[in-house]
């Protein structure tokens, strides 16, 4: 899994690509821990390049959302598609993790 990070007006935009499974989720957890330690609290995850997400990946995202909620931060998803969107839809995650069609729209929501 590759994580490409850009900053835009205080929002951390991370483009995830590849597979997010039990093995690679550790990378995401480490990345998030570094970002949180750096004081960043507003995240937009661009899921366009993501081919697959396992239940371990979902758990990691839930954990991230929970941690950010505790810090009054936010975690938004955007550009979901294909099987990944199906997984999000089926697991009911779309009801708790806000999702947007594009990065810009997600950023606009954050203000």
């Amino acid at each position: 899994m590759q994580i490409t990070t850009t900053m835009k007006e205080g929002t951390t935009i991370a483009a995830l690509a590849g597979r997010m499974d039990a093995m690679t989720t550790v990378e995401f957890d480490r990345w998030l821990a570094e970002r949180l330690a750096g004081g960043e609290t507003r995240f937009v995850l661009d899921m366009q390049g993501l081919d697959y997400i396992s239940s371990a990946g979902l758990r990691s995202l839930l954990s991230a959302a929970k941690q950010l909620k505790a810090k009054n931060g936010s975690l938004l998803l955007c550009c979901l598609g294909g099987t990944v969107e199906e997984v999000f839809r089926m697991s009911g995650f779309l009801s708790i993790l806000p999702s947007f069609p594009s990065v810009e729209e997600a950023c606009t929501t954050l203000g």
């Binding site: 396992s54 371990a56 099987t83």
Partner: protein
């Protein structure tokens, strides 16, 4: 050759290699130095020999020439006296001849031979001859005898005809001195009646023996010698007396078939000086130097055996060779000793390494006192033994821990399997089959089937996020909760809501579980169900058509404690099957990383509908066939309910 070297070299030990390299390079260096030295020294010696030969010959020629010049001078003085004397008596002439022999050591004999009719005191012929006996006394004889007939002798005729002094070719003076001699003969003229007339010949004989002794006395190294040749190439003096006057250089050249010798003969005849290297008369390689003796036109030749000239060089070379070989041996010996001192610790360490490799970690390593690379190696070896011991201890501990863990996991596996329904309930109007196949020892999948008191049937299938021990624990909690809640006769949505509430409490790890649960009215075939983010089950009709049940997605259980699940219903007709599964089925991977997918599941399910066990078996086979050896990534669980 190269192949052989390539084969043999790697097999040789360090000592052998060092010695081989040393011997080859040493032999090369030695060979080059020796050859250069020998060539250089030989050339120097040769130059010295040439110079020496020239000096010797020059001195010898001067010495011989000096002697002959003395003879010539004295003879000429005598002739002057004879020509100047107003009148000559026989006695006077005898005295002249006698004194000439007595006063000149180099003169063997002397005569004053008169032309017939010109002899003093009215004699017809007169030739008084004085010569030395072997004992040194002076003897007298008159050559004017009919038997001797001196006027016919060359020593008499040649100067008379040539009107000049002549050195005769050597000859044996039969009836005269009776020795081999050469004669300097000078024509004598006197005024007679105002006319200068030939009067006779005055001679001085020189014994060739004597000359030979003079020549032989020349010091020419150990085996060098000198020889004297007449202008015609006749041997006048040679260390082999048998050659003297009997052989010429040309006759010897013919006998030995030596063109070089013949060339020397011609050169001698031309009064030339030369230096050549060739075999001498005895076949010994020699340097031969020759030069003319001006007075007589003879030539003196000196012969030095080449081997003798180079004897010193060879002796010196032998000495150098001996020193080199000796030094070489010392070098080889020291190399052997050094190599041994280097290899001995290596050999000892090799032995130690074998002991350690065999498992004897307590083996006491040999003490290595040598420093440098080998010392460093030894030190590293000692460290390695220590580290190895430590590693073995650690490995033993780790292995024990691993074994303990494996054993614990094995027990956990058995326990987990026990949590799942061992015997599915046997109901008259329902066929039920279930299978749970964890990817590791323990997994996070779950299913359960419970007949309720009123004849209805509760069923549940779930999949905990993640895998392994945490998932297994969470799965156990979920199953226990479900069993506890289902006793309270609630509907599936309520059951699910309550399970979620319990699971969400204190769930900091954000574990969750997807659950599909339902209650089947076995009488009517009606199914009421609720879903917490689980995959939609398959509904397979009596005709074999398989479709995904259209369900509303609900949130996974365990995250939001106040989430309320909704309920939906569907119907199981006669001959229809409800197939529940976890994502381990649809997300099974093949070697290229492709998913098994819902479509393959639908296909596999549609082709086999007669029996629930067969159905599950067919799906598992389809998944395994698809994976084609790729490792199972996720737990696989299947639960099938069928109206017969």
């Amino acid at each position: 050759m190269k192949e052989a070297v390539r084969c043999i070299l790697p097999r040789l030990g360090l000592t052998a290699r060092l010695i081989l390299a040393l011997v080859i390079s040493g032999a090369l260096i030695f060979g080059v130095v020796f050859t250069v030295n020998y060539t250089y020294t030989s050339r120097m010696v040769e130059q010295q020999v040439v110079a020496h030969a020239q000096d010797v010959v020059k001195a010898a020629v001067q010495s011989v020439d000096g002697l002959l010049r003395g003879v010539v001078r004295d003879e000429n003085n005598l002739v002057a006296l004879l020509e100047a004397a107003p009148r000559l008596s026989s006695d006077q002439v005898r005295n002249f001849a006698h004194d000439h022999v007595v006063h000149n050591d180099e003169v063997f004999g002397a005569t004053i031979a008169f032309e017939p009719g010109a002899a003093p005191d009215g004699q017809q012929r007169f030739a008084p001859y004085y010569y030395r006996r072997l004992n040194g006394s002076i003897a007298y004889t008159d050559l004017a005898t009919p038997a001797y007939n001196y006027t016919s002798k060359e020593w008499y005729r040649n100067p008379k005809q040539q009107l000049a002094p002549v050195w005769s070719e050597p000859y044996f003076d039969e009836g005269g001195g009776n020795v081999v001699m050469t004669t300097y003969a000078v024509p004598v003229y006197r005024l007679s009646g105002g006319v200068r007339r030939f009067f006779g010949v005055s001679t001085a004989d020189i014994s060739v023996d004597w000359l030979g002794r003079q020549v032989s006395s020349l010091k020419l190294y150990r085996n060098g010698y000198a020889s004297l040749f007449s202008r015609k190439g006749v041997y006048l003096a040679h260390k082999d007396r048998s050659l003297v006057l009997k052989e010429t250089i040309f006759s010897m050249a013919d006998r030995l078939n030596s063109s070089r010798l013949r060339e020397i003969g011609h050169a001698i005849a031309r009064q030339e000086t030369g230096f050549i290297r060739d075999r001498n008369l005895y076949g010994v390689e020699s340097w031969i130097y020759y030069a003319p003796v001006p007075t007589t036109g003879w030539s003196l030749a000196v012969v030095f055996p080449a081997a003798e000239m180079l004897a010193d060089v060879q002796a010196a070379s032998r000495m150098i060779a001996l020193v080199c070989v000796g030094g070489f041996m010392v070098l080889v010996l020291s190399i052997v000793l050094v190599a041994r001192s280097v290899t001995r610790p290596i050999i000892e360490m090799t032995g130690a390494a074998e002991r350690i490799a065999a498992g004897d970690l307590e083996f006491v390593l040999p003490q290595i006192r040598i420093g440098g690379e080998v010392g460093a190696l030894a030190a590293a070896f000692v460290r390695m033994q220590g580290d190895l011991k430590e590693h073995i201890v650690r490995l033993t501990e780790t292995t024990a821990a691993k074994e303990r863990m494996a054993s614990e996991l094995s027990i956990a596996h058995d326990l987990q399997m026990a949590i799942l329904p061992r015997d599915l309930p046997h109901l008259p109007r329902l066929e039920i089959a279930g299978l749970c196949q964890p990817a590791r020892e323990v997994g996070g999948d779950l299913y359960d089937v419970r007949p309720l008191d009123d004849g209805r049937l509760f069923f549940i299938i779930g999949d905990v996020s993640g895998k392994g021990v945490p998932a297994a624990l969470y799965m156990a909690i979920t199953v226990s909760l479900a069993r506890a809640v289902v006793q309270e006769q609630a509907g599936p949505a309520e059951i699910l809501t309550r399970i979620n509430r319990e699971l969400s409490r204190g769930n900091d790890a954000c574990m969750f579980v997807t659950i599909f649960c339902g209650i089947l009215d076995t009488a009517s075939g009606e199914i009421r169900y609720a879903n917490a983010g689980h995959n939609p089950p398959l509904l397979i009709g009596a005709d074999g058509s398989a479709t995904l049940l259209e369900i509303k997605p609900g949130l996974v259980a365990g995250y939001l404690d106040d989430y309320v699940y909704s309920e939906a219903t569907c119907r199981l007709d006669a001959g229809a099957t409800l197939l529940l599964y976890t994502d381990g089925v649809t997300e099974a991977l093949d070697c290229t990383g492709k998913f098994f997918g819902e479509q393959r599941l639908l296909d596999a399910a549609a082709s086999s509908v007669s029996d629930t066990h067969q159905l599950i078996h067919a799906v598992i086979q389809a998944v395994e066939g698809f994976a084609d050896g790729a490792a199972q990534a996720d737990d696989i669980t299947l639960l099938a309910l069928r109206y017969p």
